[in-house]
Each structure stands twice: as structure tokens, then as C-alpha cells.
Subunit: 217 residues, 2 copies
DNA sequence: GGTCCGCTCGTACCCTGGTAGGAGAGCCCA
DNA sequence: TGGGCTCTCCTACCAGGGTACGAGCGGACC
């Protein structure tokens, strides 16, 4: 039996959600909340297996409430929202949400989302997946355009550029590649010419833009 | 009726996939391919609604075949692979795949993937979604850690750092901020101290790592 | 009123970064 | 075999980057 806590400021929405979920023999709605503020407390009382959380709420919004639940080692959270823009999705993911479903989804999808999240899985509404991957593809496309400029570089010059783009000075690059510093200077000048950059700062920026190196995280 | 083309170098896998898909009354397997090389040609002959594509194949791999199909304005591609590492996923997405499912998935999931992709949707295996979001969360976490170091900077120093991280030299920064070059030097030295960086190269790297500036795409 | 801080600007100095030009060795390909 | 390219290393030179230190001004805070 899957025990669900519903959090939404609109009683009508809670009623509708409850109706859909209760139609399943293995799903049980064990509590409701009208704001994100009391969620942590309510959870400790009714011990749900997962929390269905709205985003827009008057006092404490769903993202913040999700963060608090995660901090309190609470049950997994499935975000339920009206507007599925990317910003909200990422902030919810950042807060630790395991599921993200639109209120416009079919009851079947909603139930599947609940089942997936309750069993420890991850769920993102299918209609959102498309735009997300599209934006990734777009960024990948212009990255390959940048890469074309890097194609002119020799292997050695790429070695130097990579180290340079990690903040290494010429002497350090020389040490790491077992070369003389003057050699590095030669490579550096050469790759500046090919890339059309005048100094290492611009080259580093280009290395990031082209995706040769990625921000370390 | 959904018309499917199967592409996999192993006949056994094609047989198994076919068995699963043909069990559905609305799905029809209209062709098979043993390598990615002939996919574009085969598609023009048997006109499928979608292509189920293996990744590892002897001559032309699934990612490259997907790219060619996209270039030829072919039907959507659902990638079917044994190993679900992130690299493969992103390269497949980059190539234009609309679906990504593991061979270890349940027949139900496979069928759902096919139905989703055939109807123009996007599908990613649920077990992969978790690790992807985890890595995103990790990156977000250490981004905030880096940001802590940026918190020590004054507004003016942030202005300077932002321009510096776009490749501007001191004189250009001075011009853009309507300040003297010596002032910029003061700010630059000060922010190096606060960030613990010794030169602008390292500061630029930190600006990217902290997410203060993002690769331009 | 005094103090702290951020912002501005200056001088003086050193050092790394970047350029110009040359040169030798190894490799591939016509 | 000769030409072209890459990789290596050198000398010499100069501008910009970075540091150290000082100083004036204005706002915030006690």
C-alpha cells in the first residue's frame, strides 16, 4: 500500500487528486496540507511514503518545502505543477524532488508517477522531456560550430590549451608536459594565431565556449 | 498501426524485440537491419514510423546511423542499448534520438517507449533519469560552494570579474565601466586576494566553475 | 564625531606573457 | 629526394599584468 500526502493550497485540486489516487486499490491518501509550512510536521504525524507537492503556495512554496523535507530526511517528493517551465523543474530537482509531473497530465500518468516515486524511482513528465533535450541539442550544435575552430589546432596545441584553460601558467604547462617553457610559448603563440585570440584570457573563454573544457563541479 | 524497423547486429536480439513488439495488436515490425550502414536505404523502402536502434554495431554504430537518419529527415529513432552510461545517452541525444531505453527494461516499458516515440514524444528510461538528475544536483551543490567564495567580492569587483571572464583586458574593462585603468588594477588585485587566485587565468576558471559566467552558446 | 569600508586614482617596480625570427630533428607523402 | 608539417628549443625585446603603498572621498554604523 502506497501512503500519499497531498500538499496544495487549493482544496479543489486536493479533492481531484485524491479522487484519482484513491481509485487505485494500492494507493491511500493519508493526509493533506494547504501550505508548505506545515509539511515537515504533518509528515512526522501521518508517515506517508511520498508527498505530492504543489509549487505555487501562499506562505512556503513547494520548492522550499521540498528542500526542508529533504533536509529532515523525509519521504520522496513528487512535484505537481500547472506550468512546466524549465526554471521550476531545475529548481525542484535542485531542491531534491524525485518526481515532476504536470497537473494537465492524464490520471494514468499521474498514478504512474506516484508509483515510480514511491518505489524510489525518478519521474519527469514526458511532455517536458522533449523541450529539455531540445535545448541541450541546441547548445550541443553551436558547441560543434566552435569546435570547428579548434580543429585547426595540432594535438600538442590542444594539450597546451587544455592546461591553460585550467589556469596553468606557461612554466606549469612546461613541467606537466616535460617541455621547455620556450616551447610552450611557441605553442601558445601559434594557437592564438589559429584561434584569432590575442591573449590567454580570450583563449580560455573560447575553450569553455567550445566545450573543450567544462566548468568543474 | 505503428510500423517499426529493428536495427541490431545480433539476430537473437532482433527476434526477441520482434516477439515483444508483435505481441501488441497496434505494432507491426516492417523490417530489420543488421548494421547502421543500410538504415537510411531500408527506411526509404519499408517506411517505418520509428526505428529501434542498437548502439554497438560493427560497421556504422547506432549514434552515427541516427545522425544520418535525422539528416535525411527520416522517422524518429528510439535507441536501445545494453549499457546506459551517460556518455552514450548524451551522444545519442546529440545525434537526434527521441527515445533512449535499456535492453534490460521490462517489455511493458519497451512498448511504452515505442508508443511514445512513434507519436512524436520523447522517452528516457526511468532508471537512467535518477543518475542524471543526481549528477545535476551534485553540480548544483558545488556550484553553491564556489559561490560562497564569490560572496566575499564587492559589487564592483564582481563587475570587473564578469568582464574579465569574457576575455576583456584591463583597459577595456576600464572603458566599459568608465573608470581609470589603475582603478581596475586595484579591483583586480583585491579580488585575486579574496578568491585566492594569483592571476586572471585562474580567476576566469573560477568564474566559470562558480557559474558566475556560463559558456556562450 | 569617529571609524570602517568601498570606490576611486595615482606612482613605482618587477615579472610573466606574448611576439619575432631562427634553427634542427623527425615524419609523411608526392 | 625534396618539400611541408609538427614538435622542439633558443635569443631578444616590449607591453601589459600584477603588486605594494599611499591618498582622498562618501556612505553607513555606532
Amino acid at each position: 500500500m502506497i501512503r500519499v500526502l497531498l500538499v496544495d493550497d487549493q482544496p479543489m485540486v486536493r479533492a481531484g487528486l485524491g479522487l484519482i489516487l484513491r481509485s487505485q486499490p494500492d494507493i491511500q491518501v493519508v493526509g493533506e496540507c494547504g501550505d508548505g509550512g506545515g509539511v515537515v510536521h504533518t509528515v512526522s504525524e501521518c508517515t506517508p511514503d511520498l508527498v505530492c507537492m504543489d509549487v505555487q503556495m501562499p506562505i512556503v512554496d513547494g520548492v522550499e518545502a521540498t528542500r526542508r523535507l529533504r533536509a529532515a530526511d523525509g519521504p520522496p517528493v513528487c512535484i505537481l505543477t500547472t506550468f512546466g517551465d524549465e526554471e521550476v523543474l531545475w529548481s525542484a530537482v535542485d531542491a531534491g524532488a524525485a518526481g515532476f509531473e504536470l497537473k494537465s497530465a492524464t490520471p494514468e500518468n499521474l498514478i504512474e508517477a506516484v508509483r515510480t516515486v514511491a518505489s524510489g524511482g525518478t519521474w519527469i513528465d514526458g511532455t517536458l522531456l522533449g523541450p529539455i533535450l531540445d535545448s541541450y541539442r541546441q547548445s550541443a550544435r553551436s558547441r560543434t560550430l566552435h569546435r570547428k575552430r579548434l580543429d585547426a589546432l595540432t594535438d600538442r596545441e590542444l594539450d597546451v590549451l587544455r592546461l591553460m584553460a585550467r589556469g596553468a601558467c606557461n612554466r606549469e604547462i612546461a613541467e606537466q608536459l616535460f617541455l621547455a617553457e620556450t616551447t610552450i610559448k611557441t605553442h601558445v603563440s601559434s594557437l592564438f594565431n589559429k584561434l584569432g585570440t590575442r591573449d590567454r584570457a580570450a583563449a580560455i573563454v573560447l575553450a569553455y565556449d567550445a566545450g573543450l573544457v567544462r566548468p568543474r563541479r
